[in-house]
C-alpha cells in the first residue's frame, strides 16, 4: 500500500511542477452591463467553465481574472434574474471581454437560472449523477441509484430496501436534502429506506465528508442532494414518459412528467409527476425469496412564479410504498437463526408471486414545501423555505395476534407517525470587493413522533435551532472558505415503564466549523482540501431501545446517558482532466469521538424465547480512513475504460479493535464503446462492467453469527441509444443485464445475508419518450 501511495505522490508532484513551469500571465477583464439600461451589474459571477474558478463583479460591474495560462477557455457570466451568457476565448495574452446581459423576462430562450444551490463547501468533493448516468439507474430506489459513485455503498435489507452509505457511515449520519428540505423520516432504522422517489430528481449529488456547518447536525458522513430540474417558466408544454421492466421480480415501473408555463400568465411554471411500481418475489440464483414483492405509488406537484428579483415556489410530494419482507428473515429466536445458518438456505421457499403478505411495511411520506426568495438591487439575496413532512410508517409482523378477534382487525404491530416542520432563512450578502461572497442562515426544526404497538422507541418532541455563517473568497485560481455554526436541540421523550408514563428531557448544543481551500492550477488540474466538524445528538432509538430486534436475533438496549457524537473530518482530493484522461484521487480521515455503536455484552439475556446475545449502545472513538479513486481513459477513439476504487479502514480507538458493519473495499471497472451518431441514432453505446467486492477481513473477533461473506465479482452488460424521432420528440432505449453469470453471493452489508443469497441475474429494459422543449 505504501508503495502505491508513494507512486501516487510522485505522480502528483510531477503534475504540480509541470503545471507551474508554464507561463501563465494571461488575464481577462471587462465590465458586465444590463443590455437595455446599460447600467453595470454588481455581483454577477464570471466563471471559467470546467475549472471552478471565478470572480464576482464589483460595484462598477468590473471583473478581472488573472494568472491564466494561454489556451482556449469558455467564460460564463451569470446572475439570477438575467440569462447567463457564454463566450469562447483563445487567450495568448491579456484580453478584454464585456458582457451585456439580458433580463430574463425580455428574452425567454435558454433560461439558465442557478437554482441548484448546492451550497456545500466547494472545497468538498461533490459527485453528481445526472443525464445518461442517472438514466441508467431509472427504476431503482434511491440507495441503489447512488451505488455507482466511488465511496458510496448501500446497507440493505433484502433487495427492496437499501440505504446509502458514504465512507462507511449511514442512517442518521447521512443527511438527505430532498428538493432543498432535509428529509425527516425514520432514518434511524437500518431497514427504513429513504422515502424518496428518484424520478423526482434530475440530479443526485453526494457531498462526501462532514458538512455540518451548512446542513446542520447529522451531516457527519455526508449529504445527499436530490434535486429536480428548474421549473419551466414561460415554456410550452413538455414532458416525458418512462417505462422500465426488470426480469428479476418481474418488476415494472411507469413514470411520467408533464410541465409547462401558462399562456398569458408571465413568469409562471408548473410540473406534475407520478410513478407506479409493482414487483414480485425476487429470485436468487437458486430459489425465490418468499414475500419480497413491492408496490409503490408516488406523485408530486410543483408550481412557481418569477418576477424581477422575486421568486416563489411551492412543492408537494407524496410517496407511498408497500414492501414485503422476506418471511424467512422474521425469526423468533437465536436457535431459529442458527438453524437457518446451518441449513445454508432458507427453510421458507416459494415460487413466483406478486402478493405481499406478512411481514410487510407500509410507508407514506408527504412533503409540502414553500420557498420564496428575493434579489435586492444591491446584490443581497434573501431566501426563506418552510416545509412540513409527515412520515407514516406501519409495520406488520409475520406473527399475528393469536386472539382471532384481534387478529381480524389486522392492525399493524408497530406504527410511527413523525411530523416535522422546518424553516430555513438564508441571506446571501452582496459580494465584498468583488471577491468575498457569503451567507448567513438560521434553520429551525420542530418534530414530534407518535408511536403505537410493540414498544420500540418512545414518543418524542424535538426542537432544533441552528445559526450559521459562511464566507468564500475567490482570487487567482484560489478559493478559500470558512464557516461556523451553532446548534441547540431539546428533546422530550415520553414512554411507558411498568404501565406508568415516564418523561425524560434532554438538551444538546454544539459549535461546528469548516475551513477549506480549492486551488485551480490550470484548466485541467485542481486540488482541494477541507477540514470540517459536525455533530450528531443520540437519537431516541440509541437512548431507549429495549427489546429483541426482529431479524437480527439480538437483544438491543439503549443508554439514556449517551452524549452527542463529534466528528472532525479532513478530506482532500486532486483532479486531472483532459480530452482522453480523467483522474480523481481523494483521501479522507474522519475521526468521530463518542461514536455510538452496539457493543456485544459478555452475558446473553434470558427471555421466554430463549437466551439472546445482548448488545448495548455504547460510545467509543472511531477513525475512518479511506481513499476513493475514479479514473477513465479513452485509449482508442470511442472506447473508454473507467475504474472506481473505494478503500476504507475503520478502527475503534478505545477498544483497540475494528468496528462491525463497515463496507468492504471494492473495485468497479467498465469498458465502454460509443458509436458515432448516425442520423436519428445518437449516443449509441455498449458497455461491459465488473464489480469486485473484497471480503471484509477487518472485523472484531466473534462479532457475528456468521463471518463476513467471501469476496465476489459480478459482471454486467449495458447498451443504450437515443433516437430523435422529430425535432421535439426523442426516444431513449436502454437494456442491461446485472449479475450476468447468475453468481451466487452474499454481501456483508445486507442484513439478509444470514438467511439467503443475494439477487441473481436481472435483465432490464428502459424506454423513455421525451416531448416538447
Amino acid at each position: 500500500m505504501s508503495r502505491l501511495l508513494l507512486s501516487f505522490l510522485i505522480l502528483l508532484v510531477s503534475i504540480v511542477s509541470h503545471a507551474q513551469k508554464t507561463d501563465c500571465g494571461c488575464f481577462v477583464k471587462g465590465i458586465v452591463k444590463d443590455q437595455h439600461s446599460g447600467q453595470p451589474i454588481v455581483g454577477a459571477t464570471v466563471l471559467i467553465l470546467g475549472q471552478n474558478s471565478g470572480v464576482f463583479t464589483d460595484e462598477n460591474g468590473r471583473y478581472e481574472l488573472r494568472n491564466l495560462c494561454p489556451g482556449s477557455y469558455t467564460l460564463e457570466c451569470r446572475i439570477v434574474g438575467y440569462n447567463s451568457f457564454r463566450q469562447k476565448l483563445d487567450l495568448t495574452a491579456g484580453h478584454e471581454e464585456n458582457f451585456n446581459l439580458l433580463e430574463q423576462e425580455v428574452h425567454l430562450k435558454d433560461v439558465e437560472i442557478t437554482a441548484h444551490r448546492t451550497d456545500a463547501p466547494s472545497s468538498q468533493p461533490l459527485t453528481t449523477l445526472s443525464g445518461s448516468d442517472l438514466e441508467k439507474t431509472r427504476g431503482q430506489n434511491l440507495g441503489e441509484s447512488l451505488k455507482g459513485l466511488a465511496g458510496v455503498t448501500t446497507l440493505q435489507t433484502g433487495s427492496s430496501i437499501s440505504k446509502p452509505v458514504i465512507h462507511g457511515l449511514h442512517s442518521n449520519r447521512i443527511l438527505i436534502m430532498n428538493n432543498g428540505v432535509r428529509q425527516e423520516g425514520q432514518q434511524w432504522g437500518s431497514e427504513h429506506a429513504p422515502e424518496i422517489d428518484p424520478f423526482i430528481a434530475t440530479r443526485l449529488s453526494v457531498v462526501k465528508g462532514a458538512a455540518g456547518v451548512r446542513y446542520g447536525s447529522d451531516a457527519i458522513g455526508g449529504v445527499i442532494l436530490v434535486e429536480p430540474e428548474e421549473l419551466p417558466f414561460d415554456k410550452s408544454l413538455s414532458g416525458e414518459a418512462n417505462a422500465v421492466g426488470f426480469t428479476n421480480g418481474r418488476q415494472g415501473v411507469l413514470s411520467g412528467t408533464v410541465q409547462g408555463g401558462i399562456k398569458g400568465f408571465k413568469g409562471f411554471g408548473w410540473r406534475t409527476q407520478g410513478t407506479i411500481k409493482r414487483g414480485g418475489n425476487i429470485k436468487t440464483p437458486g430459489y425465490y425469496l418468499d414475500n419480497t414483492g413491492i408496490s409503490e405509488k408516488n406523485f408530486s406537484l410543483a408550481a412557481g412564479y418569477r418576477h424581477k428579483g422575486l421568486g416563489v415556489d411551492v412543492f408537494y410530494s407524496r410517496f407511498d410504498t408497500k414492501i414485503g419482507i422476506f418471511s424467512g428473515s422474521h425469526i423468533g429466536s437465536i436457535t431459529d437463526l442458527l438453524n437457518v445458518i446451518k441449513n445454508g438456505e432458507p427453510f421458507v421457499k416459494s415460487g413466483f408471486n406478486y402478493a405481499i403478505g406478512r411481514p410487510n411495511q407500509n410507508v407514506t411520506h408527504e412533503l409540502l414545501k414553500a420557498e420564496t426568495h428575493y434579489h435586492f438591487q444591491n446584490g443581497n439575496r434573501f431566501q426563506w423555505t418552510i416545509a412540513r413532512q409527515i412520515n407514516d410508517r406501519n409495520e406488520y409482523d409475520l406473527h399475528r395476534p393469536r386472539n382471532d378477534s384481534i387478529a381480524a382487525l389486522n392492525h399493524p404491530e408497530l406504527t410511527f407517525k413523525l411530523t416535522t416542520l422546518t424553516n430555513d432563512v438564508i441571506w446571501d450578502h452582496k459580494p465584498i470587493a468583488g471577491k468575498i461572497a457569503g451567507q448567513l442562515g438560521v434553520s429551525t426544526l420542530y418534530q414530534y413522533n407518535l408511536m403505537n404497538g410493540r414498544p420500540l422507541i418512545p414518543n418524542f418532541n424535538q426542537f432544533n435551532i441552528g445559526l450559521f455563517w459562511m464566507e468564500r473568497y475567490v482570487k487567482n485560481g484560489w478559493e478559500l472558505e470558512a464557516g461556523v455554526r451553532y446548534d441547540y436541540r431539546t428533546l422530550k421523550t415520553y414512554r411507558i415503564v411498568n404501565r406508568e408514563k415516564v418523561a425524560d428531557h434532554f438538551t444538546f448544543h454544539n459549535f461546528s466549523g469548516t475551513l477549506g481551500a480549492t486551488r485551480n492550477f490550470s484548466e485541467r488540474f485542481s486540488a482541494r482540501l477541507n477540514v470540517g466538524t459536525a455533530w450528531r445528538a443520540p437519537n431516541v432509538s440509541e437512548l431507549f431501545s429495549d427489546g429483541v430486534h426482529h431479524g437480527a436475533a439480538a437483544y438491543e438496549k439503549g443508554d439514556a446517558t449517551l452524549q452527542p457524537e463529534k466528528a472532525l473530518n479532513t478530506i482532500g482530493s486532486v483532479k486531472y482532466t483532459d480530452a482522453k484522461w480523467s483522474l480523481e484521487i481523494g483521501g479522507y480521515y474522519n475521526y468521530i469521538s463518542d461514536f455510538i455503536y452496539l457493543k456485544p455484552q459478555p452475558e446473553p439475556i434470558l427471555t421466554v424465547r430463549g437466551a439472546f446475545p445482548y448488545f448495548k449502545y455504547t460510545q467509543t472513538d472511531a477513525s475512518f480512513k479511506g481513499v476513493d479513486v475514479s479514473a477513465s481513459w479513452e485509449f482508442i477513439r470511442h472506447t473508454t475504460v473507467s475504474s472506481k476504487l473505494s478503500y476504507l479502514r475503520v478502527y475503534d480507538q478505545r477498544a483497540d479493535n475494528y468496528l462491525v458493519m463497515i463496507p468492504p473495499n471494492r473495485l468497479d471497472n467498465q469498458l465502454k464503446y460509443e458509436l458515432p451518431d448516425v442520423g436519428k441514432w445518437q449516443k449509441v453505446f455498449i458497455s461491459a462492467g465488473n464489480l469486485f467486492v473484497a471480503q471484509q477481513k477487518r472485523v472484531p473477533p466473534a462479532s457475528d453469527f456468521l463471518p463476513p461473506p467471501k469476496a465476489y465479482s459480478l459482471w454486467s452488460l449495458q447498451a443504450g441509444a437515443t433516437i430523435r424521432v422529430t425535432e421535439k420528440q426523442q426516444l431513449e432505449i436502454g437494456v442491461s443485464v446485472q449479475n450476468l453469470f447468475n453468481t451466487v453471493y452474499r454481501d456483508y452489508l445486507n442484513r439478509f445475508r444470514y438467511y439467503a443469497n443475494d439477487m441473481g441475474r436481472n435483465g432490464s429494459l428502459r424506454l423513455k419518450w421525451k416531448f416538447g422543449a
Binding site: 423468533g332 418552510i386 432563512v425 420542530y446 407518535l450 414518543n459 429483541v548 434470558l606 427471555t607 424465547r609
Partner: protein, 184 residues
C-alpha cells in the same frame, strides 16, 4: 436599514411559524393492550394413577428486557415414572391475566410444542393431542422418565402459520426455554 428591519421581521415570522403546529406527543402515550406477550410458562406433571401434580414455571412478568425473570424452576421428577404433561401459557402483564393456552388451542393448526430432553435417556415424550389436520400439538402428552440423572428439558412453542407439517423446522420460536431437569 429599512431592508434590515424587513429582514428581521421576516426572520421572526419564520421562527414563529415553526411553533404554530406544536403538538405534545406526551399526551398520546398509552400502554398497548393489543400487544401479546407470553410472560409465564408452567409445566404440570401429573403422576399416572395419582392426583399428585408437580408444577414448574418460568415467569418474567414484564416480558422481554426490563427486569430479569423472577422464576425459573428446576424440574424434579421420579425415575421410571409415567406422567401426564400439560402446559399453561399466560400473559400476566395484562389485567385480567390473558390465557394464551386457550388461544394456542384455538389456533392449534399453527402451533407445535416440542419437548427435547438431553440427554435423551432422561425422558420420553409422546404427544397426546392432534389438530384438525391430524398433526400433533403438545398441549397434553405423556412423559416417561428413565433412570436417575441430571440434564435439561428444552421446551419450545413453534409458531408455524400456514406451514405446519408435523416437523419442528418451519416457523419461529414463541417459547424457547431450557429447564434444568433432575430425575431422582
Amino acid at each position: 436599514m429599512k431592508m434590515n428591519r424587513k429582514l428581521t421581521w421576516m426572520l421572526l415570522v419564520g421562527v414563529g411559524m415553526s411553533f404554530t403546529q406544536c403538538k405534545d406527543s406526551g399526551s398520546d402515550v398509552k400502554p398497548d393492550d393489543e400487544n401479546e406477550l407470553i410472560t409465564s410458562v408452567t409445566l404440570k406433571f401429573t403422576e399416572q394413577g395419582t392426583t399428585n401434580v408437580s408444577s414448574f414455571s418460568y415467569k418474567d412478568a414484564d416480558g422481554d428486557g426490563g427486569n430479569a425473570a423472577t422464576k425459573f424452576d428446576t424440574i424434579t421428577l421420579k425415575p421410571a415414572t409415567t406422567y401426564t404433561l400439560t402446559i399453561e401459557l399466560l400473559d400476566e402483564s395484562k389485567t385480567p391475566v390473558d390465557d394464551i393456552t386457550k388461544e394456542v388451542e384455538e389456533e392449534s393448526d399453527e402451533h407445535l410444542f416440542v419437548y427435547t430432553p438431553s440427554p435423551a435417556s432422561l425422558m420420553t415424550y409422546t404427544y397426546g393431542d392432534k389438530d384438525v389436520n391430524n398433526f400433533v400439538i403438545g398441549l397434553t402428552g405423556k412423559a416417561v422418565t428413565g433412570a436417575a440423572g441430571d440434564g435439561k428439558l428444552k421446551v419450545q412453542l413453534r409458531h408455524q402459520p400456514g406451514a405446519k407439517n408435523g416437523k419442528p423446522e418451519p416457523g419461529s420460536d414463541d417459547v424457547n426455554l431450557d429447564f434444568t431437569l433432575k430425575v431422582k
